[in-house]
Chain length 191, copies 2
């Protein structure tokens, strides 16, 4: 095994991501992160000036991953099934990346306590809304519809349904998405 440049830093980031998702921001200790990464605790401060620094880097990386994932919607053909296909993208994220949503709610909680964190949430929500808005703009919609408001609603519903799914293993997320699709189709297409 050769020493790849940037390898150690990435090992730390990966480990921190895991520990952060499992334990949350405050409880995620550098000791545990170092252990998980297979390095010494002191080394973390060689790559990151502080624990907070490391955590914010993770949130940024994950924000980017989210956008990337949601961009799959752009590739969906614009036929009468567009809405259900588009919503399948966030729905599947709950299954594929459960940690990702845990991390997101962690960010929400932190963000409501500090000014720096508040801006992080705002950016994250804004990015999600822009993605939804992009999709809405592909559809021929009436002028009377407030697209921005609608994008907000859809965006927060995606997060909320993910939470329900995580909190309650018996939650029928498929049924919820089905109803959401009906709701939107009725409003957007028949209105």
């Amino acid at each position: 095994m050769k020493n790849v440049p940037g390898d150690t830093k990435n090992k730390i980031i990966d480990a921190a991501y895991q520990v952060l998702a499992e334990q949350g921001f405050e409880k995620a200790s550098t000791k545990e992160i170092a252990k998980q990464a297979g390095i010494s605790q002191g080394l973390i401060n060689y790559y990151f000036s502080s624990k907070e620094d490391l955590m914010f880097e993770i949130f940024h990386l994950e924000s980017a991953r989210y956008i990337e994932e949601m961009n799959k919607i752009s590739e969906i053909p614009l036929n009468e099934n567009f809405i259900r296909h588009a919503l399948a993208v966030p729905k599947n994220m709950v299954h594929q990346y459960p940690d990702w949503h845990r991390l997101r709610f962690e960010l929400f909680a932190i963000g409501l306590r500090s000014e720096a964190g508040r801006k992080e949430i705002q950016q994250s929500l804004e990015a999600g809304k822009q993605q939804v808005l992009k999709s809405l703009n592909m559809l021929p919609l009436k002028e009377s519809i407030n697209k921005k408001a609608l994008a907000s609603i859809i965006n927060v519903t995606i997060d909320g349904l993910a939470l329900e799914q995580m909190a309650d293993p018996d939650f029928d997320i498929d049924a919820a998405y089905l109803t959401l699709i009906e709701l939107l189709e009725t409003y957007l297409l028949k209105n």
Copy 2:
């Protein structure tokens, strides 16, 4: 000033509520809570066996307050404006009790990390859904509508819009609720 029975305990709970909402579960120290309550730190452990014990008591009390608040919906007359009047209740909570929602998202973050916490979220979400369901059952709806799924969507949207409002002071929550009302009216009444 006489010593009212249960007064000290309530002082602790009130202080803890404030500190918890401001700092979050992990950072909310018993030292700070004691300071805010105007008592000594050691006294907290006379009334509560542990910090966690204190925190859970707060979550339970707040859950009860939420239900109580939402029960106002039962008093709304069943006319054509029912939906908008009913949704005004949660919307106003964001303004009236900003701390309450901060606390709620704190609970969500904690809950996604421990089994005990997970059940707390589940209960809290379930209670909210039941309230929405109760309102939906007052309306004459088609059989084809999945009320439980719809209640979930409405319930999580309420939380989500509150988050947006807290994260972004410029967020137009009124517009969002207006669109939500239209969305529901279109689906429920015209469908």
